[in-house]
Amino acid sequence: MSIAATQKRGFGAVLWDYLTTVDHKKIAQLYLIAGGIFFLFGGIEAMLIRIQLIKPDNDFVSAGTYNELITMHGTTMIFLAAMPLIFALMNVAVPLQIGARDVAFPFLNSLGFWLFLFGGLILNCSWFLGGAPDSGWTGYAPLSTTSPGHGVDYYVIGLQIAGAGTLIGGINFLVTVVNMRAPGMTYMRMPLFTWAAFIASVLILFAFPALTVGLFLLMFDRMFDTAFFDVSLGGNTIVWQHLFWVFGHPEVYILILPLFGVFSDVFSTFAKKRLFGYTAMVFATILIAFLGFMVWAHHMFTVGLGPVANTIFSLATMAIAVPTGIKIFGWLATLWGGNITINSAMLWALGFIPSFTIGGMTGVMVATVAADYQYHDTYFVVAHFHYVIVGGTIFGIFAGLHYWWPKMFGRILHEGLGKLTFWTFFIGFHLTFFIQHFLGLMGMPRRYWVFHAGDHLETGNLISTIGALFMAFAVIVFVINVIVTARGPKAPDDPWDGRTLEWATASPPAHYNFKQTPLVRGLDPLWIEKMDGNGKITPAEPLGDIHMPNGSFLPFLFSLGLFISGFGFIYQTDNKAWLIVMIGGLAFSAAMMFVRSMKDDLGYHITKEELEREAD
């Protein structure tokens, strides 16, 4: 574990190392820690929501606080937990899987992380500075434009900054995959996780600008008295919904596609088989991404767009079931005839199949427009999207973490605790969300602070809350696992008998990843070498000097400038003196950009001699 290895240098040095690092593996750790902490925040919010709904007409939290909780739970889980945890996996695996020494833009990689972190911090500062946003994670106008206090301002500014970080991160992975692949690593030899990360990055590139635009309009309405969403002045509130879902629908594929990649890698590794129908799986992924952009208005079936629009979006949405089905059957066929090892990583992947199939099945159901008039905005939809986001994304993140933990930290997570985590989470998950399908149909709209005694919704809500307690317990076990594992034995370089290039490096890899860039001779390159009896990857180049980028404190400072400026933006509506903070922060960030542009930073070289001295 690199933290342990560097501890000899003292806390200050380690801290400085992480504040300035541009190494994708350390940035992955940063994403994991930050995303993990936000995941705990989001989880606590979820538990408070479930406690409030444990019995009818409960007054555990007030209506206002409840609305803040649901808003922050959704926003936190999507933007501050799921996205960074996915970025953690992408950072740890993508460069290694394509045989690269780093990402294309190491500096931007760090900048992306710090922007996300400071954006998330702004958002969460709202809890302590006068109230969190309370207009739902979707922030529908005019509820969001007219919401009193500064909660929604925090939402706008926080998401804008975090979103910029995500966009930068996405672009970085696009360029990395296009430009940094090792010799022989053609597109059709890339592991499915890299493929999925690549396609998710395309989605980020096209979807996040829509969010950016939407947030700008909302920001100007709230802070500078424009009227984009003010109907009395000629604005239109439906425009927000279109902008939000043009981003928001692709976002759910950004959240699931990389994990489809994780499952593909995990299944083929632990079934000891190459992925069944590789080409079809790749094209199914591309097709899902493409269709993901065409269907945003299925979130708006009840808005009153008319039957023509509703039908078109309904049918387009159903069509996504076809490539998704191809993937599900592709995974099953991968397992078929395999020699399957079931360990914690594999358990999450196996648990995903029935869970996600149910989520996909209810997905087609909610796409059925005239039936959706009943499902829309009820607990049926809550159940559906938790089935896909938890049953897909969160299961996938856990699978990926158990799978790549040895690569990230040089340790293998404890198997017994891993299985305990899985089973309690899996049971809790189905207990919580399955029954919510029925709650919705029985007349429980989502975002309800209370339901009434006598509405026959008591039992379902009680069971749901009990399930949530199971999930909370599972997460605590996972945290214990991480702590226990940190003192555990060191992991071998290739603990799972892996098939892809990341398992050809040390655990954890050296900061330059590969001493010599590997030569890729086909799909599952490490497996090919193993089958040929080499056991080691053939290098594509003679041993030579390696060029490495220098660390930099500028990304942290740049993000800090925007963080400070954010408070200026938020509070200048109360007192114009805050304009100084707003402009000052922006100027500071601009100065950091100037420094970055003017200073020649050519990095450094690890010489051939140094590499030769290191043990092989």
Binding site: S62, N67, G136, Y140, P142, L143, T237, K272, K273, R274, F276, G277, Y278, A280, T302, G304, T311, S314, M318, V322, I326, I328, L332, A333, L335, G337, G338, N339, I340, T341, I342, L350, I353, P354, T357, M361, V364, M365, T368, V369, A370, A371, Y373, Q374, H376, D377, T378, F426, I427, L431, L441, M442, G443, P445, R447, W449, V450, H452, D455, H456
Partner: protein, 350 residues
Amino acid sequence: MKGWMGKFRALSLLGLLALVLAGCGRENLTALKPKGYGAETSLHLIILTTVVMSLVLLVVAIVYITVLIRFRKKKGKEDFIPKQVEGNRTLETVWTIIPIILLIIIAVPTTIATFDLASTKGEKDHLNVEVTGNQYWWHFNYKGEDIQTSQDLYVPTGEKVYLNMKSSDVIHSFWVPSIAGKMDVNPENENTMYIEVNEEGVYWGKCAEFCGPAHSLMDFKIIAVSPDKFDQWVSDMKDVDPDAVAGSKTAKEGEKLFQDNNCMGCHAVGSSPVQVGPNLTDFGNRTKVAGVLDNTKENVVDWIMDPDSIKPGNKMSGNYPELSKDEASKIADYLMELKPSKVTPESAGE
């Protein structure tokens, strides 16, 4: 692992049992026992898609369980290396085409139902009600009838009623699960949907679009009565003389207090249109106070004394002079006597 599996079974059984005990939810609130045309249409599609999708789930489950039983690592064969299969064109084609066929089976009735439910063909020949969504109450204006009500919407059974819906503030959504699917109520444009109720009854309505602190308390009712009773109700509601209502002494005092304390600034009794607060013409006949409390005098008094404790964020709190309990009680007496029609929720079988 066996122990966990056992626990899982026990828990799923418990869940299933609970579901059976709970039935399909509260009569006249659940979408699973439709009492109106829209809800029936939706339920047919819900059942169709559930059946089709369950078939898919079944196939996946069979393959999945088979895989888990047959292809787990076995003792003595730990080092077995399976055949590295590339793919199978036939299989892949089959699992592409079958889902497409299944989707077409769903898509056709979906399209027909969608156009059916959006049809406005008979709008002119039927009753039209202007619905206004407000934080956190509903207003109904019967077009061409000069009738204004709030919270309780009376409709005749067996007839189409067209609802022209608009919001006065944020977005709401009109939803009576057992009658029809929901339709958003937007501030910028009028959305139209029709409802058709099959049998008499009081149906629970909810606001389904997140609209602020009291979102979960924005309840309303559809009261469906036979066409005869509905005609009776219409004629009763047309000739309401607000001043002639109060009978008892306290109610008369209450009426005066109601006027003196500027309640009329927001509320109206009779058929004058309202801007800020609910129309109170038939308050005495209402099923609920503020949408959520039983219509008893104590509840009315509590509501008048401190609305915010019952419905957080409502626009009545703090907008009238403070009242003593005695004054509130008199106003309550007056309001409870506002019963212009003999056709009440009770006559719908409640």
